[in-house]
Symmetry: C2
Subunit: 351 residues, 2 copies
Amino acid sequence: VVVSISANDFSDELRTTISDVARRAGVSPATVSRYLKGAPVKAEDRVREAIAALDFRPSVVARSLQSGTTKTIGLVIPDVTNPFFAAVVKGAESVARQAGYTTSLFNTDESIARESELVEDLAERVDGLILAPVSEVDPVPERARSRGVPIVFLDRDVPGSAFDAVLVDNEGGGRLAAQHLLEHGHERVGIISGPLDSTPGRGRFEGFREALGEAGYELLAECVQEADFRREGGYQAMLRLMGLAVSPTAVFVANNMMTIGALQAVRELGIDVPDALSIVGFDDLDLADLLAPPLTVVDRPMEQQGVLAMRLLLGRLDDSLSGDPRRIVLDVRLLPRGSCARPSSTLLLSS
Amino acid sequence: VVVSISANDFSDELRTTISDVARRAGVSPATVSRYLKGAPVKAEDRVREAIAALDFRPSVVARSLQSGTTKTIGLVIPDVTNPFFAAVVKGAESVARQAGYTTSLFNTDESIARESELVEDLAERVDGLILAPVSEVDPVPERARSRGVPIVFLDRDVPGSAFDAVLVDNEGGGRLAAQHLLEHGHERVGIISGPLDSTPGRGRFEGFREALGEAGYELLAECVQEADFRREGGYQAMLRLMGLAVSPTAVFVANNMMTIGALQAVRELGIDVPDALSIVGFDDLDLADLLAPPLTVVDRPMEQQGVLAMRLLLGRLDDSLSGDPRRIVLDVRLLPRGSCARPSSTLLLSS
DNA sequence: GTGAAAGCGCTAACAT
DNA sequence: ATGTTAGCGCTTTCAC
């Protein structure tokens, strides 16, 4: 019988410690520690040699326990699958790396419960948090504050709480969408909004409705479908909208994931865009201009949002930033492509 | 002058420890520790009360130092922006959560240097790693092994190293693509491959070439464009392919990001798909069937890859899995949509 | 400049 | 069932 030795059996590994290094170099652990810190040390060469020979790496865990610091930033986002957040991460990461921080990502799946757990135990594992809170009535950030973790809000806010935040002009985005639709002559329009208790959900909705109102049009209740920022939600919402006795001739979909779902629904229904239905989305998509027709969207500087959030956070950590919470609000712009046209029914009814 | 008190000043927070709880409950720290562990404790009520009153949470850092365990799994992936990895993460996360593990994500940006740094300092912060190594000649995993971290390879392998791995049938995928193109009558085909020193890069390329060879066709050197699995790489590669004196009538793009770039190039060049050029991609895209034309791709079970990788890893950790490395290879399948047709030049030249 | 000793917050022996 | 002690690996006074 051949005894198979597991290639994955690490059970009796023992860690090389600072004392091992000290012993080999013929100095005390304290001296090695000093060397590590960059302080002047006589036996520098021997210490360096010992470290190399033993392949020693200081334990970050022990360091954390001692210093209370981890040199890592946590990014807590609601959906890793959403390209917007992927872009944000890219931006944030590059800034962090330059400052010598590691960034580590966590997914809440739009669940307050998961967010809560996560933030709670991240509190000691990170030096700071960039967080896109699930809801505007989210109690998590305040609890995190009481645990001593600096937080910067990303894209979503919790009004009344004094945290730094990097947001975008959601109202402006909603207005842009509405105006664009209005310009094309639409009168009966719909919206697939995000959760109205989230910053971008509410903001985009309100901007949209206001612009409509100012132009003398009302946004009918049945034409407002509140969904959850996810693909499936957008899909269902579009189905409901198109199932209306009198369905809208144009719809604004308030985020990228829902737009994908909504487009799927429209295609399954065999509805022609833009002739039978105009669509404007929020957030550009990689493939937006390769779609049939190319998708008109409200766009914003995604990576930049990550960059700014990380700068804010790092500023708090090194005290170069202090005082009252900073709020940064970035501009959005409309990218007109091919998914909007004049409403066909209007053509029939008017003049 | 009003002195503004910073809302973000946490400088003199002091942590509530197990001793504080013990003192308040009138027991020893050890007893509190036992209570935390779930062991029977007489003064259970008083301890519970004290914990609640003091809002105490045990320090995971101190626990880690003591136990060498972190109850977290690291996922190290080359590109957060790639929807394939996003899907994998979803799958892996759900399994981990059920087992009481937190999963935390790290991005290497296809850089061996970053991967190396990352794995090196993750070694002590995680109980195990799911890793998509940048290259097949990547020395990082072996170093990680020597640091005692169990690893499962995801999607990419390092041949000769004895690690668990969850892969897909890349060769099969390449063959499927080639056969599909062949069936449509293409004779001069091209490939935009990933790095040939990566598992999926090499595998898809070889499967593609072999299937072509078996059918009696040769894959010309100039029709092989090796890129980097990224959008921009795919874009440039397609530009080169279309700039050839005699350009291919069909091309296989070996991953999703490069496909997006390639499509962009094709559209800018004003080349008609599928009439002037047939395309098959690798990895399905959310919007694949909403493109004009809908994109034909080789698809695979993405979330499932994450699920299996996490199961393997967790199995190693709790010793329910032992012995030789496991290699799981998942099947792929072709999703024919609208981006392939008969070559127009062939129509002219043949019969 | 360098060593000895204490301690970060916790858990695991070892007693009792 | 519970307290005492020691120690995880490191940094940091405090002497010298």
